[in-house]
């Protein structure tokens, strides 16, 4: 069956992309050297490269990519909007304001965790603000208001960032721009643990909500008639998807495109049943971001290109091919 075949293919692709990410990097190492480093029979510098740099980076890419794809699919279903993506509710804007504030005030230099924590809190603030506006009527959450509030709040955060940067030193602007573009270069075992703590349980929760999400895609009224507590599903699913996004932005900056296009690509291949769509989106997003990061590392090594550039350059043609195929089929 097509779904089973695709699942196996994606698991294999993810495994390959993880292996390749550990095998290749800006430094040219042999397979034997990498294996020696993994089994502990290698000099310190070699083990540092493989175990402290490449391994956490590969895993972080997979976790963030998978999380963004699942969050994107969830937002698209709940907002009933194919243009929805994880950053649509202003989450990236809130996180960026937090991060840029830390950079501008110098707090980011004082403690390693200051920047990711501020980014995370900024993201939570954005979510709280947007949810607060959307539930202000007291009659449940209106997703159209949510969407509008998200876009407006996002624009407001952009203005905040522009304001902070305009009164900052050139050096701060430079590091802020680099952070906003997103990167996996700062992956550490600590950030892998954080990303895993959020992404994996949240993904399980969302897969558990797959049927209500299917119903929401038809309409909230119908979903109610088919036994769904619509308000509860909206709150839990949006909250969980927003947390995945917030954690992803905190550890890897704003990586665009994965959360928008991966769910659509999987939809074109297997349809819109979220019981299949969500797990396959996770696998595809994880493999896609790990591979994109490999390209980002290798294309101009040792200089890295921003991973958002790679996700767009690889993702757009791939997606257009899929779209064309589905239209002509």
């Amino acid at each position: 069956m097509r779904r089973v075949g695709l699942s196996l293919a994606l698991v294999a692709l993810l495994a390959c992309s993880l292996v390749l990410s550990v095998r290749f990097g800006s430094v040219d190492l042999g397979t034997a050297e990498v294996l020696a480093a993994l089994t502990g029979r290698a000099p310190d510098w070699l083990r540092s490269i493989v175990i402290e740099l490449r391994l956490p980076r590969a895993l972080l890419g997979a976790l963030v990519g998978g999380g963004l794809a699942v969050a994107g699919a969830t937002f698209q279903a709940l907002l009933r909007n194919p243009l929805a993506e994880p950053y649509i509710l202003g989450i990236s804007g809130g996180a960026s304001v937090g991060a840029v504030l830390m950079l501008a005030t110098g707090a980011a230099g004082a403690a390693l965790w200051a920047l990711p924590l501020a980014a995370f809190l900024g993201a939570l603030f954005a979510i709280a603000l947007v949810f607060g506006v959307a539930t202000a009527s007291g009659r449940g959450m209106d997703v159209r208001v949510l969407l509008l509030a998200g876009v407006v709040v996002g624009a407001f955060f952009s203005a905040c960032i522009a304001l902070i940067l305009s009164v900052s030193e050139a050096r701060t602007i430079q590091s802020a721009v680099l952070w906003i573009m997103g990167s996996l270069a700062n992956a550490r075992w600590g950030s892998v643990i954080v990303a895993a703590l959020y992404t994996l349980p949240a993904t399980v929760v969302l897969i558990g909500l797959a049927r209500p999400l299917n119903l929401m895609a038809i309409g909230e009224e119908t979903a109610q008639y088919l036994g769904t507590d619509v308000e509860r599903v909206k709150r839990v699913a949006l909250g969980v998807a927003a947390l995945i996004t917030a954690a992803g932005v905190a550890v890897a900056g704003v990586i665009g495109f994965v959360g928008l296009v991966v769910p659509h690509a999987i939809r074109l291949l297997v349809g819109s049943d979220h019981r299949v769509l969500l797990p396959l989106s996770f696998l595809a997003g994880a493999a896609f971001l790990a591979l994109a990061d490999l390209v980002a590392k290798l294309a101009l090594a040792p200089t890295e290109i921003p991973i958002g550039v790679v996700t767009a350059f690889v993702g757009v043609p791939l997606f257009l091919v899929l779209l064309r195929r589905s239209l002509t089929a």
Binding site: P82, R211, N214, L215, L226, G227, G271, S272, D273
Partner: protein
Amino acid sequence: MRLSTEALVVRYPGAASPALDGVSFDVASGSLYAVLGPNGSGKSTLLKALLGVVPAEAGRVTVQDRPAHGWSRRDLARMIGVVPQGETLAFPLTVREMVAMGRYPYLGPLHGEGTRDREAVQRALVQCDIAGLASRDVTTLSGGELQRVRIARALAQEPRALVLDEPTASLDIRHEMAILELLRSSADSGMTVLVVTHGLDLAARFADRMLLLREGRVVAEGRAGSVMEAPILEDVYGWPVAVEPDPVTGTPRVTPLRSTDPARTPEGRNG
């Protein structure tokens, strides 16, 4: 299964006058009940209140023998299949996937569909004559086909009552009749069927009883013969009509009149 309301009042937030004002009715098992009335008379609101989607300000809604809010959404979904008015799909789905959603009230979050569920889906597809469309994308269907898919989804719920909001709006004669025949036979086999419709003539032919609403109040309730009288309908719809027995079926038939029609003058009507 009994569906009933008693002195039901519903008011939308911020609205001056209630959308429903003291509405009472009672639908018995095995009967087809039609809710009629002009646009904005509260027909759809009545359905939503009955299904607990909009809260009642006063009065009572009873499903089976319990107040409607005493049932969980899931319990209601196992008892009542609903075909709401419009649905816009955000993403494409196949016909089978859409109909299979009728089984969701019976499934746990991590349980797949079993043999019983697949059988119920297949029965519903056959009943609505869409088994041949099972793997089609619903966004490519015609209006009549889509409507049958939605009714099949409600039937797949294996409900004891069906509630439909204008199920035959904008369908051609064949599709309209096919759906009404299906509803009639469902009622005959013991199901409670409640239909909101604008089709007075067909309601007169298919429904056991009917409710006529105007501005949220009940104007008339009962058999077609007692509800569909020209003075009542003219008052409710604000348009002159003639009501005569249909020569083929003998049920009341409503003809809206033009200013040039002879029947428009009092003499014409009397003669």
